[in-house]
Point group: C2
DNA sequence: GTCTATAACGGGATAGAC
DNA sequence: GTCTATCCCGTTATAGAC
């Protein structure tokens, strides 16, 4: 699965060659088919893998650090996805690709919806800790907007049209705007 | 170009078969290559085409209607892209595909950046008509967020994870939030 | 479970006539 | 400018041995 994430991040879902994946993983193509049945099977499994991995690195705080206030934790959690480190870039690229592929491949939609829901709920949860008085509906809407915006900014960054630092500023600004809106 | 937009919207950039495009346009594959050189040439031209077409349908108001106030015009212009009509769906799908492809195909980036800039400036302009006192920087940032959010919502809609009506509500809510923020 | 080898096919691109 | 015909390569997927 790590090899799959790497190859998709490097070539895209469109450019994924089972042979290249096999080489990256150090096995034969036949073995890939043995385990995943077909190309779509690979994609589905990869989607699950990166979704789990993203959840881990946005949730886990390293044990030495002092705990953050809710507001910073929210901002951190979103800005973590806009970083130029191998893992994050890999995850963002692959996520964007799988999202885009789902437009034409219904087989990916269920898994994608599941992963998206988890993410939105996690963000709504964090928003609720900053604005305890807000209604669940308002929190959910804000979370949907923030995560959708993050996806939008992410593709722009990865497609070379938006410098990372600027993307981060825009994201932080949106958090401001949404929190102000939730204050009433 | 109309045929290209249709085929990309139906199959995606990855699913675009030159033969299918030729059939859709009612010509031979050789003729496509004669005019566009290669596959990438087709994509570049299509990107320009849908960007022009989108600009037309978001800008032109039909002559019979009375003029809208700035606020409604802004909202309209953004919500026009979240509609389930053949042309809009075609444009949104193709736009998303080309954006996603640009992550791995540098040949598309220049054209994409150009088209994005025009769009962002148009939205910033509309925002400026609602909030004449806002700085150019603040208007630009809000426009970038709103357009990036629209792209994000659009893919979620097209990939089946977000009902159109809900996407429209979220978009309208973001316009609210940004305008409130620009008020100070 | 894992490999080598290969079948089978799709589709990008071009030659050359008109 | 436009066509028909075709080359040829890359890719998915499987057969069958170990």
């Amino acid at each position: 699965m790590e090899a799959a994430a790497r190859v998709i991040a490097r070539r895209g879902v469109r450019g994924l060659r089972v042979e290249e994946l096999a080489a990256e993983a150090g096995v034969s193509t036949a073995l890939i088919y043995y385990h995943f049945k077909d190309r779509t099977g690979i994609l589905r499994a990869t989607l699950e893998f990166i979704s789990d991995r993203a959840e881990r690195y946005t949730t886990e705080r390293d044990p030495g650090a002092e705990p953050l206030d809710p507001r910073s934790e929210l901002e951190q959690s979103l800005l973590l996805e806009l970083q130029d480190t191998p893992t994050v870039r890999e995850n963002s690229t692959a996520w964007g690709e799988l999202r885009a592929s789902a437009v034409f491949d219904p087989d990916l939609r269920e898994e994608l919806a599941r992963a998206t829901l988890i993410w939105v709920q996690e963000v709504a949860e964090l928003l609720g800790q900053v604005r305890p008085m807000a209604t669940a509906t308002a929190l959910a809407a804000a979370a949907e907007r923030l995560t959708a915006l993050l996806e939008g900014l992410s593709v722009r960054w990865l497609s070379g049209g938006l410098p990372l630092e600027h993307a981060r500023e825009l994201m932080a600004g949106a958090v401001d705007a949404e929190l102000a809106r939730l204050r009433g």
